[in-house]
Symmetry: C2
Subunit: 326 residues, 2 copies
């Protein structure tokens, strides 16, 4: 990218040009959280996906629909809230005929009852470009209310649900960049990339227990950085504590340098959260009750920034470790 | 369009494939209204705009931002509600650098205080295609609550605010298809196309007075059809009662056949509403109080469909008069 032409990154642009537009609206949280607060426990988020960027042109429309819903469901879960309803905006090229729409609606119909959400509004328009879709999702947090990114405190334990890195490795597998991988492992990882499993049971259960929470969409290190910057703290991740799927372990055994992809690749849609050390038993109980594995992967410290250390406590020399945003 | 490939129109697709997904959510209004109901008087709507479809590639970004906000503000006004806050989803090609975003944000900043709305959330992504933007807007209706499309009754008077046809004629002027038109008139019409003036004062004031309301975005005849189908009634518009701007009158004097464009062209963002004959004084009072011209243009009748009649009561033979949707 030419800095003169494109200059700031996405986060700097949001902070500089858009965040000032939220003045007077505390529920906007300065555009630094997964969703905005509407009052009365309600939260609202919007996420857009673009053909060729977030999904492949060959992906079946029902899968695209489910992924679109699920990335938004993951944002609602990361607020400690339960999803209620959503609006859908579609910009569709003329090649998307009735059959495409029907397949897309089939995907929505499959996921709605699984996650307890209902379509309540939308907009549909033509586009000369790629399929571009956005969902606005509304949820509600139980008392004591939504979990923000800003509540992490030095001493808190850092937890993550499920396994990390499968989404990013799945994209590599789906695009033929993991040629030596066994079919079963490749297929597992590709599924993880194509169809996220938002943690909609665990998220709301963590309200009142987690001090800060985010879903892993930008990548583990980047998303922990979001929590740390918003909370004014630092984070230390122990690489040997990262929960990996068997397939991801298989990949890393062959290509250890892909640990960087695991740490920074994104698209996991797992929950990354912090809780006081004293809440360890509560976290374990909620994880067991929701049948969602949760792993302690590090600790919140004073200061700022995120480091990943090996078992000896030495920082890993990751090229993208210094990931920063405004 | 190839019917086998693309088959149903937008409205039929929504009715067939998407409306069933609203089952169990009465606030969705079957996807037939300008916005959905969230409860407690809250309404929510989403509208997307695409470069090359809803705005011209050469349009300055601040104007694009204001148009995007205003088409959504118009939907909120058409529910008889006051706007509160909005979320913004942007899919931007790499050529949109910091300057573009800054200009876009300047437009939002200019309109926010004019209309009393604040940004509370959003999403930003890259696209290989045209600029694609959507706004989700949240509003609140005063008691007795939102005005739906479904309340029109035979005998009700049909009203429209402002003037009709300027938006569609403005697009013709902006694209060089009204070559003989005087510069001042062309410029007036182009402004009307480029920057809608949503009726955010009149809309909420009509709550409790209007029996049905919609904003004129698809075209006067099509939008009255939406009210008539949802209400189970018919509508008769008197062509000689249509409120026209001086510029539109000038165009029609030269090219009388453009009356069809005026009636069906859309993009006016005026309010089209119905009210009992007995409420005529109240409508006039509210119009005067809000300094918004309102014209009585016809009457709701039993049956279905929309006809436009001349001063002798003879239906106009408009090619698109039979406009129907599912």
């Amino acid at each position: 990218m030419d800095p003169a032409a494109n200059g700031l990154g996405e986060f700097e642009r949001i902070a500089r040009f858009l965040a000032p537009l939220t003045a007077g609206a505390p529920g906007a949280l300065g555009l630094t959280d997964d969703a905005a607060l509407l009052g009365e426990g309600r939260v609202v988020t919007v996420d857009a996906i673009v053909e060729g960027v977030h999904f492949l042109p060959a992906d079946p429309p029902d899968l695209v629909a489910r992924k679109l819903l699920r990335v938004n469901l993951s944002d609602i879960a990361a607020m400690g809230a339960e999803p209620e309803s959503y609006l859908l905006a579609m910009a569709l090229p003329s090649r998307c005929g009735d059959r495409w729409i029907e397949g897309f609606a089939t995907g929505l119909a499959a996921d709605q009852p699984l996650f307890g959400v209902t379509l309540i509004g939308g907009d549909s328009t033509a586009t000369p470009g790629p399929i571009t879709l956005s969902v606005t999702m509304i949820g509600r947090a139980r008392p004591p209310g939504p979990v923000l990114r800003s509540g992490a405190t030095p001493g808190d334990i850092i937890y993550v649900s499920g396994t990390i890195g499968d989404g990013a490795l799945g994209l590599l597998a789906a695009t033929g960049r993991l040629p030596g991988l066994a079919t079963a492992a490749a297929s597992f990882l590709e599924d993880r990339y194509r169809l996220p499993q938002p943690r909609t049971a665990l998220g709301p259960a963590l309200a009142g227990v987690a001090t800060a929470m985010i879903d892993v969409s930008d990548g583990l290190v980047a998303d922990l950085s979001h929590i740390c910057e918003t909370s004014g703290v630092g984070g230390v991740i122990r690489a040997d504590a990262l929960p990996l799927s068997d397939a991801a372990s298989e990949v890393l055994a062959e290509a250890p340098s892909l640990i960087e992809t695991v740490l920074t690749g994104g698209d996991d849609y797992e929950l990354l959260f912090t809780a006081p050390a004293a809440a360890g038993d509560a976290v374990a109980r909620l994880a067991a009750a929701g049948r969602t594995p949760v792993a302690a992967i590090g600790r919140i410290v004073r200061g700022g920034g995120v480091v990943v250390v090996d078992r000896d406590g030495c920082p890993l020399p990751l090229a993208r470790m210094g990931y920063r945003h405004g």
